[in-house]
């Protein structure tokens, strides 16, 4: 591990922030306190954290239906995020977006997305603008293994390569799309096999190892900033909970021992063990960090609960920049 302790702390903190936020959201959902769908990122923290720690605030990311993880990793504010999940007017999207559309333009987070694969073309647009302005910004498109089967991903990957844009395609290969295993929906095992078809380099990394993710991203981002064009990173990872929510409600679609094996490789706990072993971190410090963030999330929940609901007169606001002349 060549990373300096501050970088290690940063990676760790980003992961714990995600875990704490997601576990809290999951509990609230189980208590029927969150409306709508909730796709939790638990288990995959190393990917968002490792990638986003390689980015600046003015770099852009596009996300997926599983989007809070990405926004937290990019620095998202607990209070306004939790308020959004509750549909409150103080939420990141004033209650209009919810879990599937959470976003924060000020952090370059161009939105979770309810349409699988649809974020990638938007990331290409951000990358184009970044190149156009020439200030060295990059864009990252997050997407799942399942998303690589959809046309929008393909068009985005090809266009980014054709136009030689500063972009990183970051695939979270968790081996499932909803309730269907990857093997039923593609004849290849590794998403990275698709990179050559666009003419970009691709690399497989252990998505449970935040250091590996981070180092691969640093390289891809450096290439992009230097005008070297797009790259694809495939992170092998796993979601610890159900496709949405926490518990499996319908039929069982993943073998118990598969789930158990992946959980043993928890990206946060294994990283903590490594840091403690290396002397970068102590168990006490780890506990303190968790406690601190758990405290923050309680504050956020309280903030969200105490926040007002949006009022019906807000329905027609923000469809357009101005309401003049719009249909009713």
């Amino acid at each position: 591990m060549d990373l300096s302790p501050p970088v290690q702390f940063d990676l760790h903190r980003r992961m714990v922030r995600i875990r704490v936020f997601e576990e809290a959201a999951g509990r609230l959902a189980e208590a029927n306190k969150l409306p709508g769908f909730l796709h939790l990122y638990v288990g995959e923290e190393a990917v968002a954290a490792g990638v986003c720690a390689a980015l600046n605030d003015d770099d852009h990311i596009t996300s997926t239906h599983r989007g809070h993880g990405h926004l937290v990793a990019k620095g998202g504010d607990f209070n306004r995020m939790m308020a959004e999940l509750m549909g409150k007017s103080t939420g990141m999207c004033k209650g209009k977006g919810g879990s599937m559309h959470i976003s924060d333009l000020s952090l370059g987070m161009l939105g979770a997305n309810g349409i699988v694969g649809a974020g990638s073309p938007i990331a290409v647009g951000a990358a184009f603008a970044n190149k156009y302005r020439g200030r060295g910004q990059v864009a990252v498109a997050f997407f799942g293994d399942g998303a690589t089967n959809i046309g929008a991903f393909h068009e985005a990957a090809n266009m980014a390569c054709a136009l030689h844009l500063p972009i990183v395609f970051a695939c979270e290969n968790n081996e499932y799309g909803e309730f269907t295993p990857r093997s039923a929906t593609m004849a290849i095992t590794d998403i990275v096999d698709r990179a050559a078809g666009y003419g970009m380099p691709g690399v497989i990394i252990d998505g449970m190892d935040v250091v590996a993710v981070h180092e691969a991203t640093l390289e891809a981002v450096a290439r992009a900033r230097a005008g070297g064009g797009p790259s694809l990173i495939e992170a092998k990872t796993y979601r610890f909970y159900n496709h949405h929510g926490i518990q499996n409600l319908g039929l069982k679609y993943r073998p118990d021992d598969e789930v158990a094996q992946w959980k043993e490789r928890d990206p946060i706990f294994t990283f903590e063990d490594r840091m403690i072993e290396n002397g970068t971190m102590t168990r006490d410090r780890v506990d303190e960090i968790w406690a601190g963030l758990r405290g923050e999330i309680e504050v956020a929940i309280k903030f969200a609960e105490d926040s007002p609901l949006p009022t019906p007169d807000q329905i027609l606001v923000d469809v357009y920049t101005s309401m003049t002349g719009a249909a009713q």
């Binding site: 409150k88 209009k96 977006g97 309810g114 909803e178 949006p310 027609l316």
Partner: protein
Amino acid sequence: MSEVRKLTYGGAFNEAVRQAMEADENIFCAGEDIGAFGGVFGTYLGLQAKFGAHRVVDTPISEQAIVGLGIGAAVTGLRPIVDLMFMDFICVAFDQIVNQAAKLKYMFGGEATMPLTITTGGGAGLSAAAQHSQSLEAILCHIPGLKVVYPSNPYDMKGLMTACIRENNPTIMVKHKRLLGMSAHVPEENYEIPLGKANIMRAGTDVTVIAYGRMANETLVAAEKLAADGIECEVIDPRTLQPLDTDSIVESARKTHKVLVVHEAVKFGGLGAEIASQIHELAFDYLDAPVARIGAPFSPVPFSPALEQHYLPDAASIEAGIRNLVQRS
């Protein structure tokens, strides 16, 4: 009456598919998560176990190819049922639906049949936000070559789904997500409700209300309330939106002289505009007031329940709309 067999709306869909597949080996289903898992709404539950993975096919997340799979198989002799989980995803497959499935027979000079059924979950009310809640049926009804079906209850679901599967033209069967659990009597034996025939759900003399999908049920609630005040609504559920049963609608309009059209879709450019225009064209001299329309305001579907509940029409707003109309000279 304890022996009346009940089925949910989702269950009625499932039974229609099962019975059709038992009767005709050329029918198969394909879609995301519909196989082993039975579909995210459970509407395909048990079918793969019964008919095998070659007839109930899990597909990649590839809506264009899912519809294309259906088109290619239909034009070469099978009878595909393909599923696009949420109606919003119709947008992803729009070229295959609009430029291919709808037009293929015509472009081929008639030398093709397209017995393709596309199923999808429509409608709002689940805090599923802007990309999982849309009602896009008006768009589909504007495309020559497609038929569009939208049942409002379990009985109609089974009969209409059966008709869709037997139909030799491409049909789109919209299941309203919030009706999936609605339970009612559904006969076990197979039956078909012909496409293009409206259902007069409630006879009345004072005002005609045309509503489909979940809104038909909301309208019935409003109608019962109004009946207590002596206002008798005739409630018509077109059931098939394309082709539309203009005759039944116009006949009722000529009788009651007042018409309200209700849908969950955005009002501007919704199907209500077409229905209202046809009524004006064919029953103008019978009308005491212009045909009124209720639909959603001109915005994407908001996430927060605090907004969505005001966004959607419901029994109360329909009741108010009817009272308003009845009061017009």
